[in-house]
């Protein structure tokens, strides 16, 4: 009896210990190799939804894709569009027609030349309702694209045309200088016409994928990792210093951080609990991201039909306190809706020129609340509920901090409610929420992208608010060819938006990350996707 019980214990112990010690080789082989072979190891967070440009409209698809392909322009290190697959272009005197000359040496990774026809085919594919591209609205800058997409027009009437193999002519609805920056977006990448027509699943596997970017796809183990190697067919291959890139797909931020610690990853995000510590140690790096965290009032619900009451709530919020004591992630507090990073023709930053449109002011907030209540004939303020979405703890923390601020600065008890993210979004769009959290991330690099959201009945409006003067200013900015005048219109519009207060801004988003000392040259654009063309390993 004794003997065999000892054996049992021994077995269990061996089984458990074996679990811990077999294969005691040190990890981080990839890290060691990168010393000789110049390989950067990144985390993409998840499997790309699709590497087909018009389909995978999200960061997990476009971050890798931005390095596998290239549009007519590419954002440079200073975030301005530079000549890429297009060598040069001409703009007609009315600013509406662009004629692009495609480089003679622009080639697909299979060696075939990139042609103007590839671009024409690709851009019409974006607008084609049959493609069902979630990014189709970005093509609406082009004449006839919206009609094609809504089923009222046809592919022939969409004004993008290959004049010959290397010349592409595009006509826009209105002169928009930032069009050159818009077309650096992966939505506007060319696709190899012949390959796509032959095989609709061409973007699904590494061996059928064809690109024209600095890197080519060498291996794709789904939901596991992608390997890219330098593309020698790329026209500017001499600028590409890396031999390869490994993209892992780790969804858990703690695991990502732990892999960075063991050297299995070259860069990493920061787990929320550690941000304070890593900032203190000076390890965390920050880059702007063009987007705003803000709150929406529903102007169709009491008491927020009243402008002064909305304004009172906005003024009771201290943006600095939120970023310093709640999120602790070094975001810039937002005193306007448009983020930093958009220059006017004189070179001034839109946000700085626009200055602080709203600043915390307790006294004024109380005063406006009284005034608003008087206007509406309220003895007591109708109950207010602030709703946030679950899934990200930050939303809850911010909502709780705001609740405290409203109590302290206005003497108002606000109730909190939470909803699952998808339900939250449905209810917000249906104007069922009285007061709710929101975020906006720019799709293209111009203040108009922020401001057009609040045009009356825009699907992004979600407040019930509408203002004729505002609508007029946005419409005029969208048509305006004179940049100076256009920026003036946009400044006026932003002032109305903040003054009327259907929303109030909290902070501007940023990108916080850790990066190995020996990795240089990775560019993170405020609007745009991860850029590895100039990356290097020392």
């Amino acid at each position: 009896m004794k003997k065999w019980s000892v054996m049992l214990v021994a077995f269990v112990m061996i089984a458990m210990v074996a679990g811990c010690t077999t294969g005691a080789n040190p990890p981080g082989k990839e890290g060691d190799k990168s010393g000789k072979e110049k390989i950067v190891s990144l985390n993409n967070g998840n499997e790309p939804t699709s590497l087909d440009p018009p389909i995978g409209f999200d960061a997990i698809s476009y971050n890798p894709l931005n390095n596998l392909m290239e549009g007519l322009t590419r954002l440079g290190k200073n975030n301005e569009p530079e000549a890429a697959t297009a060598e040069k272009w001409e703009v007609s005197s009315d600013g509406k027609t662009y004629t692009f000359k495609i480089r003679e040496d622009a080639k697909w990774s299979d060696g075939k030349p990139v042609t103007a026809q590839d671009f024409e085919y690709a851009w019409k594919r974006v607008a084609d309702p049959k493609t069902a591209s979630p990014a189709a609205f970005l093509s609406y800058f082009i004449q006839g694209a919206e009609e094609f997409n809504t089923g009222k027009g046809s592919a022939q009437d969409m004004k993008v045309k290959a004049k010959d193999d290397k010349t592409l002519e595009v006509t826009l609805n209105s002169p928009q200088k930032y069009f050159l920056s818009v077309i650096s977006n992966p939505v506007f990448f060319p696709v190899p016409k012949e390959t796509v027509e032959k095989n609709k699943d061409w973007a699904k596997e590494a061996n059928t994928f064809v690109g024209n970017g600095p890197f080519k796809l060498a291996e794709w183990k789904h939901k596991d990792q992608m390997k890219m190697v330098k593309n020698n067919n790329y026209w500017d291959a001499k600028s590409v210093k890396l031999d390869g890139v490994v993209w892992k797909m780790i969804g858990d931020s703690n695991t990502e951080y732990q892999m960075f610690q063991t050297g299995e990853l070259s860069t990493s995000g920061i787990p929320a609990d550690l941000s304070e510590k890593l900032f203190k140690e000076g390890k965390a790096k920050v880059e702007d991201q063009s987007g705003t965290y803000f709150f929406r009032f529903n102007v169709k619900m009491k008491p927020f039909q009243n402008k002064n009451i909305r304004k009172a709530f906005s003024l009771a919020v201290n943006q600095e306190d939120i970023v310093n004591y709640v999120t602790k992630n070094k975001e810039k507090p937002a005193h306007g809706f448009v983020a930093y990073g958009f220059n006017d023709p004189a070179g001034g930053d839109f946000r700085e020129i626009g200055s602080d449109l709203i600043k915390p002011d307790k006294e004024k907030a109380k005063e406006l609340l009284q005034k608003g209540m008087k206007e509406e004939g309220y003895d007591r303020l109708p109950p207010v509920t602030l709703t946030y979405s679950t899934g990200d703890d930050t939303h809850k923390k911010i909502a709780e901090a705001l609740q405290e601020m409203f109590k302290e600065n206005l003497g108002v008890n606000v109730k909190l409610a939470s909803l699952e993210a998808n339900v939250f979004s449905t209810d917000q769009k249906a104007l069922k929420l009285q007061f709710s959290r929101s975020s906006f991330l720019a799709d293209y690099a111009d203040p108009i992208n922020f401001l057009e959201s609040f045009v009356t009945d825009s699907p992004m409006n979600r407040t019930g608010w509408g203002n004729k003067e505002y609508d007029k200013l946005i419409a005029s900015a969208k048509k305006e060819g004179d940049e100076k005048k256009r920026f003036e219109d946009m400044h006026k519009a932003e002032k109305i938006l903040i003054d009327e207060a259907p929303i109030f801004p909290l902070y501007f988003y940023n990108q916080v990350y850790l990066q190995n000392e020996n990795v240089t040259g990775i560019v993170r654009h405020p609007v745009g996707y991860l850029e590895l063309k100039w990356a290097d390993v020392k």
């Binding site: 019980s5 049992l8 005691a24 990890p27 995978g56 939901k223 596991d224 695991t255 993210a421």
Partner: protein
């Protein structure tokens, strides 16, 4: 026996149909939609997308379309992973979850039963308490804590094993260990309690009196009976472990199918919700059927077609 299997097969088919129908309508009853991100979604774009996935049709028409493709074993396209079909997601993910799950199961069954027997034999002794403390820890410590702890100690501090991802057998050890903790504990506790019951039975005393060796008594006489309750739960346990765990797969970045159970619901990715549900329930129903057959083998007193005899 053949008649029994035939009957069971028909009832299995009906069960699966009921599950499909219920899931289909329940899932469409949840508010929200797959194209409902916070970002800008233009109305035309949304309509085009809905038309692409037939979501603009009447719900019963959609149900009909779904049943028809299901009969051809086609689960349809994933909406979130737009260029991948659900069949592809499952056929890529399941073998990996299966591999990891088998290792974890094997380890938890063998060690769980061993630990249970051992605790029962040393009832109320130090070893019993030790084993059961271990079991309580296994049940009560959530596996995401266990996983994070294992990574921190074994991979980051001691640098014995890689942190995460799925590349070699070394990458399998930590997740398998984390995954096996709770089934191990369940099996150990169950084995212990039923062993304790069996060991007091008369026929064990008889066996002892006959002078059989302790090994023979435990393994041949006691264990065989004591295993019945363990086998009962094994059906559900195996189905759950083999189809992967959301938490473990996320923490260890394992490309299995476990994550889809949760992420598909968050994304309202209807075809993936259906695909994972149908796959899981089919597997579960089949395993429960196997369990019923196994009863008969382990305990010949249990007759499968008893009802017919009556």
């Amino acid at each position: 026996m053949l008649k029994y299997i035939g009957k069971r097969f028909i009832s299995m088919m009906i069960t699966i149909w009921v599950i499909v129908t219920l899931t289909f309508f329940l899932m469409h009853a949840i508010p929200g939609s797959p194209f409902n991100q916070e970002r800008n979604t233009n109305d035309t774009v949304r309509k085009n997308l809905e038309a692409h996935y037939h979501l603009d049709e009447n719900l019963f028409v959609q149900y009909g379309i779904y049943l028809k493709s299901l009969l051809q074993f086609d689960f349809g396209p994933s909406i979130k992973q737009s260029s991948t079909s659900v069949n592809e997601l499952l056929s890529r993910g399941f073998p990996i979850s299966f591999e990891l799950g088998s290792v974890a199961l094997l380890f938890s069954i063998v060690s769980g039963i061993a630990l249970g027997i051992f605790a029962a034999l040393r009832h109320n002794g130090v070893i019993d308490y030790g084993a059961m403390t271990l079991a309580v820890i296994g049940i009560s410590v959530p596996n995401f804590i266990m996983a994070t702890l294992l990574i921190q100690v074994v991979a980051v501090d001691l640098k014995l094993l890689p942190v995460a991802t799925w590349a070699s057998y070394k990458h399998m050890i930590l997740p398998a260990l984390a995954l096996s903790m709770s089934p191990l504990a369940i099996i150990a506790r169950l084995t212990r309690s039923s062993m304790l019951e069996v060991l007091t039975q008369d026929y064990i005393r008889t066996a002892r009196a006959k002078g059989l060796s302790p090994f023979k008594i435990v393994v041949k006489h006691a264990l065989r009976n004591a295993l019945l309750p363990v086998i009962t739960i094994l059906g559900t346990l195996v189905a759950a472990v083999l189809t992967g765990s959301f938490v473990i797969e996320k923490i260890f970045a394992i490309p299995g199918m476990g994550q889809y159970f949760v992420s598909s619901i968050n994304d309202r990715d209807y075809p993936v919700i259906m695909g994972t549900t149908v796959f899981y329930s089919t597997l579960l129903i089949f395993l429960l059927f196997l369990v019923d057959i196994a009863y008969g083998i382990i305990d010949p007193r249990i007759k499968l077609h008893k009802k017919e005899g009556e």
